[in-house]
């Protein structure tokens, strides 16, 4: 059928040949195969007042997929506080923005790339980093930091070592090549990820306050430009795939793997930032999940406009792509932008100078319809709002898991005869061992802002031209979340605040990546709702707004779901990088003070602890209680100690409790410590929250204790630094382990477990 024969450009629902291409007829079955339920298909029919074309079905089903529409999560996400004194842009744009003071703002976001990374770890992780970097520079911000939160299964599980190697190489190769330092992250190993690993990538960029860009297509008549790599068949249906569990079918439905091209990204980054300075760009957005479909529709939605796109003009990498594929391709390193009419040449000129292809593929229109043409025919004519903001929304049924009470039952806690032996065993595990093997494969010092790199509680980046620093951390304890998602959600926020406080940083905002199983299962929906509630409570109490985020459902294989994993990546501001405490002991003879309350005998908290799980194979009980008021007091105290320079070293207590935290403080300089405490050996490993360790010069001890008193934080001097062993005196009994030995065990744990 030639263009002339097409019936006046209107959509023929029965068209099975578009511009000479055979297309499957649209039927309820085809809609179901696209993941639409019968009701959703009905909804589409009534929105259109007719049957959709094949391209329309593809676009609508992609935008209505869980991944793009947040249809199951939205009602819960509304509970999260999203405003605050420092927030300039909350959720809804490509990244959130907070105020750094002075001329500067920070744009940041975290995103999952779980499914693609499980299929092809190297490319999956690489393109995850690529996507999040684009989300940030799309806002006009130059990316200055990446973090990666990685959740792997048991290293003995099938393919797991291959997955770890591939993901780490993928994150590294991409970020290293683009020249953005990867300064932090988190790495978890737990069998719940055996069949579904999680790869969450975070990026942060900085911009001048008055140079922020948005993705709002405004100004009818303005041209729409396509920039960057050509379009291939990569990842068609990526968004729908991310909205399904793994099973036999997804194996067969495997789309062409998206391949990252970090060099193209670097060029695109430089060219976009330069083009933004021309003043001729109205709006810009990257093509991420669901490709051109989502970027075009989302830009039109935010702008309250429509658009016409001539898909024949989209640059293709290979022949034979039809409109359906062009709209849904997830080829990487592509941008869609709206230029000021008449000034498009000045934009195009910049891209050409960088050797990039730039093509005008359409224009913004009034009236809120998106009209797509191909081969001279109209292949789609959709009302933008009906497909975007009026997408389906669900309050899915939630139910507490049947085995919850059983799993929360108080565990028996076997005594640690020799705390030194238990400590060795914990430090030798990949879970608590050093992650240096990972972060040394990441360039963490490029751009020369990294004042504190990976390996501490929080990374710190200098904001050049000022004395302040941007602090970053990523945290979540999935075991706590599995045992009590509400407490776990709150704990993730509280731990992030604590980690920032250890470098003296005041939190400005957070971005979250909520990784869960199948939301159509009531237990999963319950976990989700509870975790979000816990996070929301902690965000309010600790005054940290949520400025961006991402939800990843369907992380399950068969009926086995991952542990609920609400990753929290938090950004803070360090007022003065010249008085930064270290995460480890600095000098011999310093006094060590334990801040926070260690529960008395009999009440020590071991639910979900590393001690029980890694040494005794027990994963049960209630996770340690989160006292948000105590966390707030502790964080305030830590910031004061850091800022006044009273603390030489600060480190919070997390997995493995006091024993592990003390050991970690010994490693960097091989400096030991002697501590005496009224605790049993076992209690050294309890994981009660809101605790931290301070090391200070002897002359500052009084000040530390006084500050703690004023802040209402319990504080006890427990010993001093020095010697080459970590020595405990517990109720008269003495135990010790040489620091050199502990260091060796800890630093080789991961490569040993990977069998390198």
């Amino acid at each position: 059928m030639s263009a002339a024969e097409a019936d006046g450009g209107s959509i023929s629902a029965r068209s099975v040949a578009v511009a000479g291409r055979a297309e499957p007829p649209v039927t309820p079955e085809l809609a179901a195969a696209h993941g639409l339920t019968a009701e959703e298909y009905e909804r589409l029919l009534s929105a259109l007042g007719r049957e959709p074309s094949y391209t329309e079905l593809g676009v609508a089903s992609a935008l209505w997929s869980e991944h793009c529409s947040y249809k199951s999560s939205k009602v819960h996400l509304r509970e999260l506080p999203t405003t605050g004194a420092h927030v300039l842009q909350g959720p809804g744009e490509n990244a959130g923005i907070v105020d750094l003071g002075g001329d500067w703002v920070a744009a940041f976001k975290i995103e999952s790339h779980n499914h693609p990374s499980f299929i092809e770890p190297y490319q999956g992780a690489a393109t995850g980093v690529g996507g999040i970097l684009r989300d940030v520079f799309t806002m006009g911000a130059r990316p200055v930091a990446v973090m990666d939160a990685l959740f792997f299964g048991d290293l003995g599980a099938p393919r797991m070592r291959h997955l770890v190697d591939g993901v780490v190489r993928g994150v590294g190769d991409y970020g290293n090549c683009v020249g953005v330092p990867t300064v932090g992250g988190q790495t978890v190993f737990h069998p719940s990820y055996d069949g579904n690993i999680l790869v969450n990538a975070f990026a942060l960029g900085i911009a001048r306050r008055d140079r922020i860009f948005h993705a709002r297509a405004t100004g009818p008549g303005n041209p729409i430009l396509y920039v960057g790599s050509r379009t291939g068949r990569d990842g068609i249906h990526g968004a729908t795939m991310a909205s399904e569990s793994f099973g036999e079918e997804s194996e067969a439905k495997r789309p062409t793997v998206q391949v990252g091209d970090p060099f193209a990204e670097k060029i695109l980054l430089e060219a976009c930032l330069e083009a933004m300075r021309t003043g001729a760009i109205v709006a810009i957005q990257d093509m991420g999940a669901a490709g051109l479909a989502s970027s075009a529709f989302e830009m039109a939605e935010r702008g309250g406009t429509g658009m016409v796109l001539d898909l024949d003009r989209v640059p293709l990498r290979e022949g034979g792509l039809g409109p359906y594929e062009i709209m849904l391709s997830e080829s990487q390193e592509r941008m869609l932008l709206v230029a000021r009419r008449g000034r498009e040449e000045s934009v195009a000129e910049v891209f050409r100078r960088w050797g990039l292809e730039v093509v005008s593929i359409g224009e913004v229109t009034a009236g809120g319809r998106a009209v797509l043409t191909f081969g001279g025919e109209t292949v789609a004519d959709l009302p933008v709002a009906a497909i975007t903001e009026q997408a389906p929304l669900y309050r899915r049924p939630a139910a507490e898991p049947a085995d919850l009470a059983e799993r929360q039952r108080s565990p028996e806690v076997p005594e640690a005869e020799d705390p030194a032996a238990a400590l060795r065993a914990l430090l030798a595990s990949p879970e608590l061992g050093s992650k240096q093997w990972i972060w040394r494969q990441y360039d963490h010092s490029v751009r020369t802002n990294t004042v504190r790199g990976p390996g501490g509680d929080a990374a710190v980046l200098l904001l050049k031209g000022t004395n302040s620093g941007i602090a970053l951390t990523a945290d979540v304890n999935p075991v706590y979340c599995a045992l009590d998602p509400r407490t776990g959600g709150a704990q993730a926020v509280a731990e992030a605040v604590r980690n920032l406080a250890c470098v003296g940083a005041e939190p400005l905002g957070l971005t979250d990546c909520l990784n869960f199983g199948n939301p159509e299962r009531p237990e999963i929906m319950w976990q989700f709702g509870e975790a979000v509630r816990g996070m929301a409570e902690a965000c309010r109490a600790l005054e940290v707004p949520v400025v961006s985020g991402n939800v990843s459902f369907y992380n399950e294989t068969g009926d086995r779901s991952v542990h609920p994993t609400p990753t929290v990546a938090m950004v803070g501001l360090v007022p003065d990088v010249d008085v930064l405490p270290e995460p480890s002991f600095v000098a011999a003879g310093d006094r060590i003070v334990l801040l926070g309350e260690s529960r008395p005998q009999g009440e020590a908290e071991f639910g979900g602890s590393a001690y029980l799980r890694l040494l005794h194979g027990v994963e049960r009980g209630r996770p340690p209680a989160v006292d948000l008021a105590a966390e707030a007091r502790l964080a305030e105290l830590l910031r004061t100690l850091a800022f006044r320079g009273t603390a030489r070293a600060l480190h919070d207590l997390a997995e493995g409790g006091l024993a592990v935290a003390l050991a970690e403080m010994c490693f960097a300089r091989g400096l030991g410590a002697r501590v005496a405490l009224p605790l049993s050996p076992t209690e050294l490993f309890a994981e009660s929250q809101a605790r931290a360790l301070v090391a200070c010069a002897p002359g500052d001890l009084e000040r530390v204790l006084r500050s703690a008193g004023r802040a209402g934080v319990p504080a006890v001097e427990i010993g001093e630094t020095g010697g080459d062993a970590l020595a405990f005196e517990l109720a008269g009994e003495r135990y010790a382990a040489p620091v050199a030995e502990l260091t060796e065990i800890w630093s080789t744990a991961l490569p040993r477990a990977l069998e390198l």
Partner: protein, 88 residues
């Protein structure tokens, strides 16, 4: 026995390396380069002389280690002289 294994990115998959090389050749004046694909070549020396057995072993090596079937195709050449089969 000497064998050559050649591994190339699958046809439909983006080959950033090949693309960059093609462009670089163009920049330094090589016109008429229509396409470049970048792959890997492994020369493998195996014990024994049984070609058929070797072929089976090499197949397995490719599937397990030398190639990543998700994104790559491979070919095996056991020919007299080590001539790889190029891209499949």
């Amino acid at each position: 026995m000497k064998a050559t294994v050649t591994v190339y990115p699958r046809r439909e998959i983006l080959d950033p390396q090949g693309k960059a090389i093609r462009e670089a050749l163009g920049r330094i004046g090589f016109t008429g380069v229509e396409d470049v694909r970048a792959g890997k070549s492994f020369e493998i020396e195996l014990a024994g002389e049984d070609r058929e057995a070797a072929g089976r072993v090499l197949e397995e090596m490719c599937r397990k280690l030398l190639a990543n079937p998700v994104v790559e195709d491979y070919s095996i050449d056991l020919g007299g002289r080590a001539g790889a089969g190029g891209a499949p």
